[in-house]
Structures are given as C-alpha cells and as structure tokens.
Amino acid sequence: MGLREWAVGGVLLSPFLVYVLLALLLTGVVRLLLRLTPLGGWVWHEALFDCALFVCILSLITLVLGPL
C-alpha cells in the first residue's frame, strides 16, 4: 500500500487511517484470543494493556506495510 495518500472521490485519505483501522481489528482479535486463553489472567490494567497492544500492532503494521 505504501505511505501514499488515497484519492477517494477527489478527497485525499491518509494511508495511516487504513492502518489504524486494520490495527484496531487485529487488536480486537488478539484481545479475544487472550481472553479465551489463561494468558488473559495476567493482565493487570486492562485499558492500559489494550492501549499498549494497539500501539504495538499499529507500529508493526506501519513498519511492515509502509515500505511496500
């Protein structure tokens, strides 16, 4: 996808927006997996954990998909 803007009906959309949505989806999936397995019991502060997880996944996605 690359870090180039998307033109949708003449409106330029940031690729980062797509990455953010993708990361949100992935975070949800990972969170669900964690909740189903005993690993979820180790989480101390849920909101903080989710937030950190989201940032990690978002940066991973940007790193992987960015240069493409």
Binding site: G9, G10, V11, L12, L17, H45, A47, L48, C51
Partner: protein
C-alpha cells in the same frame, strides 16, 4: 420496544412539548444570530440546546452558570493569547494548568454551579486555540462568543418560560412529601431491624440529597420558589436528624435486658404505628405519654435513656412534619439552619484536574507533532469531555455515549450539510433541513436514559453543519473535522479509562479518614450549626461509599460499616454535648479533660486492642456527672457517655474481626 425507539417514535406529551420548546428557542436564537450577522451563529443555536432543561428554574440556573463561566473564560483567553502568542508550548502549558484548576474547582464545588467552572475552563480552549494562527482576532472571537451565548440563553429562557412552563417549585412539594414519607418509614424501620437497613438508609439519603439539590433551581422561580427552597433546607435537616435519632434509639434498645425490653416494647410498637401513618396531633399526644412513662420512678436508668430518646425521636418527627407543611405552603420559618454541608476532597479534585490537563497535553502534543489543521477541533472536545465528566464515577461510560452521539451525528450531518443544503437556500429551508434531525435529538434529550447520547448528537450535528449567512460547502473539511472530533472524544475516553481515579478501596480509605477528622473536630466545634455540618457531610459520604459498595469484594465492604460507626459516634457526641449545654452545670475542667481525651482517641482512630481506651476517661467523667445535683439532662448525658464508650468498643472490635480475617 427498545428505549431509543420508544423515545423517538412513541414519545410522551412532556417529551414532545420539551422538543418543541427547545427547537423554537434554538430557531429563534439562530434567526437572530443570522439576522444580526454574528460571526458563529452555531454557538447561539448550540447554547439554546445546551441550556434546554425540562424545568424553567433549571434553564435559568444553567444559563447563568454558563454565562458567568463564559465571561471568565473569554477574559482569560484574551489574557493567554496576549501573554503567550509567540510561545506555543508555554501557551499550551498555561492552558493545561488553567483547565486543571477549573476542573478541580468544579469537582470541589459539588453543586449545580460547578458548571460555571467547567465553562470557564473550556471556553479558553474554544476561543484561544483557533486564534493561535491570528492572535489579533482573539478579541473579536471573544466578543462574538459572549454575545452569542447570551443570545442563546435568552432565547432558551424565554421559550421555556412562555411555552408550557414547568416549574421546579411545583414539583418540589411532591418530591418533599416523598422524601418525608420514606424518611418516616426508614426511621420506623430502623427502630426494629438491622436487615434491609442499608438499602433503606441509602434510598432515603439519596432522596434527601436529591431534593436538597433542587433548591438552587427553585431560587430562580420567584418568591414562592425561594420560600420553598428555604423550607426544603429545614426539611432535609430535620429528616437527617430524625434518621440519626432513630438509630440511636435502636442502640439504646440493644442495651436493655430482657425484662426492661419487654416493658418498653409496647411503646416501640406504638411509635412504629404512629410513624407509619404520621399525624401531627397523634404524634404530640404520643410524645407526651412516652415522656410521662420515661419519668415513671419504677424505670431503670437504661429504660429512662431509651424512652427519653424515643421522645426525642417523636419531637423530631413532629419537626419534620412541620417542615413538610412549610414546604407545601411555601412559607419558610424565620430561623433557618445552615444548608447541608458536603464532603469536599481537595487532593481528589486536584487529581481530577491533572487528568484533564494530561489528556489535553497529550492531545496537543499530537497536534503540534502532526501539524493537522483540524486538530484544534478535537482538542476542544477533549477539554469539554474531560472537564464536564471529571467528577462522575462513570466518566468513561458517559464519554462513550458522547462518542456514540458523535458517530450518529456524522452521517446525518453529512447528508444534511453536504447534500441537502447546497441545493436549498433561505432560512425556512435551513430550518427544515436542520429542524427535523434536531427534533428527534431533542426528543431523545427528554429521556434521561439516552439523554447523554442525544445531547451529544444534537450538539455535534450543529457544529458539523455550522450554519452561516454565506455557507460554503467542503467535503474534505467536513471529513477532517469529523475525524478530529472522533480523535478528541476518543482521547478523553482513553484518559478516563487509563487513569482510573475511582479505586474503591482507596476512595473508601479517604472517606474514612475524613470521617475520623470530622469526629475530632466535632469535639470542639460550635454546637449551633454542628448538626447540619456533620449530618450533611456524613450523608454525602455514605452515599459516595454506597456507590462504591457494589464494586467492592465482600471482605472489603467494611468501609460502609466504618461510615455507619462514624455516624453513630458523631451522633452520640452531639447528643452528649447538647445535654451538657442544656444542663448548664459548671463542669469546666472535667468536661474539657474528657473531650480532650476523646479527641485524642478519635484522632488515633479505631483499631484492634484500642477498645478500652475510652474506659477510664468515661468512668471519671460519669463519676463527676453523678456528683452533680441530679437533673434530667445530666442523666441523659451519662447515657450518652456510656453509649459513646460502647460504640467506640464496637467499632474497634469490628476492626479487629476484619484484621483477624485478613
């Protein structure tokens, strides 16, 4: 049917009236703003929606609070821009500090006027942030904001006063009667059982506090409203005293042995009966009979204390009934008690303030790092959400419903603002395009369950459309500002979720420390307003503890007991001091020494192995009291000293049990 559908499709008459009132007020404000060529007519329309409340006194009160806050906020924004226009970081820091201060004060104030502080905080953000690029325009912006907010308030007040006016003071009488009824019930219930007491007590405390908070609104509804407001002050105090006396009667009852209890029991059931269907003449008659029974020479001291307290209970019930009549007739008595004091917690307020500041700084770093032109729109919303809901326990939840309202508003505003309006022109068409979605928004606002979402929907809808005399339509700008708003509200919700300041255990500890501190102060505080001061603060605290009660694990629920023990101790202490006051015997040194020791013990706080700390002092003081020529108040004072000692022992033993458990 789901609540939302019901509120929108099958609204009741009140909701429709409210929606029409709100819409007309908003329409009038918008028309005038457009006619006079004001800079941002949307602000006038928004204000009309923000201050719209079902009752007219509330509209005036909220409007005034908003106006005051705005005036202070605009002055501060001009000052900030004047001082820091060249130094963005310093400007943002100053703004964050101001926001923190305002949030802290609004948390401390604990009344409807707290809204003024919230406004003073975020008005600065609303005016100063867009003016960063052109600092010379800040004065115009400030004047425009003030004018439009005044316009909105005036229009909303006029429509709410002229169309189907609903007044706070009319509802006040009904609410007062309900509070009085449940107060009598709770009092008579606590004469007998401990079960269900917590729920009953909470219910009645909640009612008292709710009725009492209406006073502020009733004040704006003419002479009758003001008189009723004053009478409510008397009633809420009388009910609180009634509840405390009922608990103390119960405590005295527990001290009786079986034979004594059997002799007193008939009086208890008579009082119970009288309280379930209270009539002033009956109460007075019964009081006289109990009083005579208490002075029967065959009575043991314990019986005497118990019956004397029962008399006091009946006295207070008569007082409460008289106060209720005063509310219903709208005639306040001449000698008013102080208004109910509330529990204030400065460190907690400062923490709430710093959370707002932190969220603001995080968002503004994002703004400065990305240089996104629309970011200030989001930043403003972060400020609004953070400071408006700072002191609510469910801040994150309300923030989420705010976000939901925004998400609903975006597609509707896109359709109306970008598709319909470019084809239509003229004010009537504008009204039609905006009026239909806003009518449904106002219907939702009338329903307390979906009120937050509906209010947020209406306000964001107005902001996103931003009606102007010369409209210009720009899809890109629309999408940008919609995104920025979502990011802004999201940041605020995240701040609420990440910095949870409502840790129940910590909160409980703070409340207990404050209770203990109050007890210490009660040993030397002036007696005149001590009842309202202590009673009001304790009621407030018990309510707060109760809110956390459900969130606590079972073994940690002792906080609530702590509160009740503290209440009992304070009650006995007040009773003792009043008895001593009435007795008017020169006790000088002995009284001072006893109270001082009591103060020291209370300052240490209850704990395992401390239950005997009061024994020696109590024995000495009782000895002194009994050496005085015998009189009724002195006998009651002895009873109170014994009760204090017992309550203290009970509190300490409770701590011991919990300690043992842990």
């Amino acid at each position: 049917m789901p609540i939302t559908l019901q509120a929108l499709l099958a609204p009741n008459k009140r909701a429709v009236q409210f929606a029409i009132k709100t819409l007309l007020g908003g329409g009038l404000a918008l028309w005038l703003a457009l006619r006079w060529g004001l800079e941002q007519p949307a602000w006038a329309l928004m204000t009309a929606f923000v201050v719209a409340q079902p009752l007219s006194g509330m509209v005036v009160q909220k409007g005034l609070a908003r106006l005051l806050g705005t005036l202070v906020g605009t002055a501060m924004s001009v000052l900030f821009i004047g001082l820091f226009a060249q130094t963005p970081w310093l400007f943002l820091l100053a703004l964050a500090l101001w926001l923190a201060l305002c949030t802290a004060f609004s948390t401390l104030l604990r009344s409807a006027w707290a809204y003024a502080f919230v406004l003073a905080g975020y008005t600065v953000a609303i005016i100063a942030l867009p003016a960063v690029d052109h600092p010379l325009l800040v004065f115009d912006q400030a004047v425009a904001r003030c004018t439009e907010i005044c316009l909105g308030i005036v229009c909303a007040t006029v429509t709410s006063a002229l169309l189907w006016p609903l007044r706070v003071e009319q509802q006040l009488a009904g609410q007062a009667r309900q509070a009085w009824e449940s107060g009598m019930q709770a009092a008579s219930a606590s004469l007998f059982g401990e079960e269900q007491q917590r729920k009953d007590l909470l219910d009645i405390l909640g009612r008292i506090v709710a009725v009492d908070s209406q006073r502020e609104h009733a004040w704006f509804e003419g002479r009758l409203g003001r008189e009723r407001g004053r009478a409510i002050r008397v009633l809420s105090q009388a009910l609180l005293v009634l509840l405390r006396i009922a608990r103390s009667v119960r405590r005295q009852w527990q001290q009786l042995d079986e034979r004594e209890a059997a002799r007193v029991a008939p009086w208890f059931s008579k009082v119970h009966e009288a309280l379930s269907a209270p009539d002033q003449a009956d109460l007075l008659l019964l009081r006289q009979r109990v009083w005579e029974a208490a002075h029967d020479p065959a009575c043991s001291p314990a019986e005497h204390y118990c019956l004397a307290r029962l008399t006091l209970l009946l006295d207070k019930a008569v007082n409460a009934t008289m106060a209720l009549h005063a509310v219903e007739e709208g005639k306040a008595p001449a000698d008013l008690p102080e208004s109910l004091a509330v529990h204030r917690d400065l460190p907690l307020a400062l923490l709430f303030g710093s959370r707002s500041a932190l969220a603001f700084l995080a968002m503004s770093s994002f703004w400065l790092a990305t240089g996104w032109i629309s970011a200030p729109g989001g930043l403003v919303l972060t400020c609004v959400v953070c400071s408006l809901f700072a002191s609510r326990e469910n801040g994150a939840q309300i923030g989420m419903s705010f976000l939901r309202g925004l998400l609903l508003a975006i597609p509707v505003a896109f359709f109306v603002g970008q598709i319909l309006l470019p084809q239509w022109s003229g004010f009537p068409m504008l009204c039609m395009a905006m009026g239909v979605p806003l009518f449904f928004g106002a219907l939702g606002m009338a329903n307390p369950k979906i009120g937050a979402t509906a209010t947020s929907y209406s306000l964001h809808f107005i902001v996103l459309i931003a009606p102007l005399n010369a409209m210009h339509f720009d899809v890109a700008a629309f999408l940008n500002s919609a995104q920025a708003m979502m990011v802004g509200v999201g940041a605020a919700v995240l701040a609420f979720k990440l910095l949870v300041l409502h840790n129940p255990a910590w909160h409980g500890r703070r409340l207990r420390a404050a209770t203990q501190n109050d007890l210490v102060r009660l040993t030397r505080r002036d007696l005149r307003d001590a009842e309202t001061w202590f009673g009001g603060r304790m009621a407030d605290r018990l309510l707060q503890m109760a809110r956390h009660y459900a969130a606590l694990p079972v073994h940690a629920r002792e906080r609530w007991d702590d509160g009740l023990h503290g209440l009992d101790m304070g009650d006995e202490l007040l009773h003792l001091r009043m008895c001593l006051e009435v007795a008017q015997v020169p006790l000088g040194q002995a009284r001072r020494e006893y109270l001082q020791q009591l103060e020291e013990v209370l300052a240490q706080g209850p704990g395992a192995g401390r239950e005997a700390l009061l024994d020696e002092a109590s024995a000495t003081f009782i000895d002194v009291l009994q050496r005085q020529p015998s009189s009724d108040p002195l006998r009651l004072a002895v009873g109170a000293v014994l009760q204090l000692q017992k309550s203290w022992g009970k509190w300490c033993r409770r701590q011991e049990e919990l300690h043992g458990l842990a």
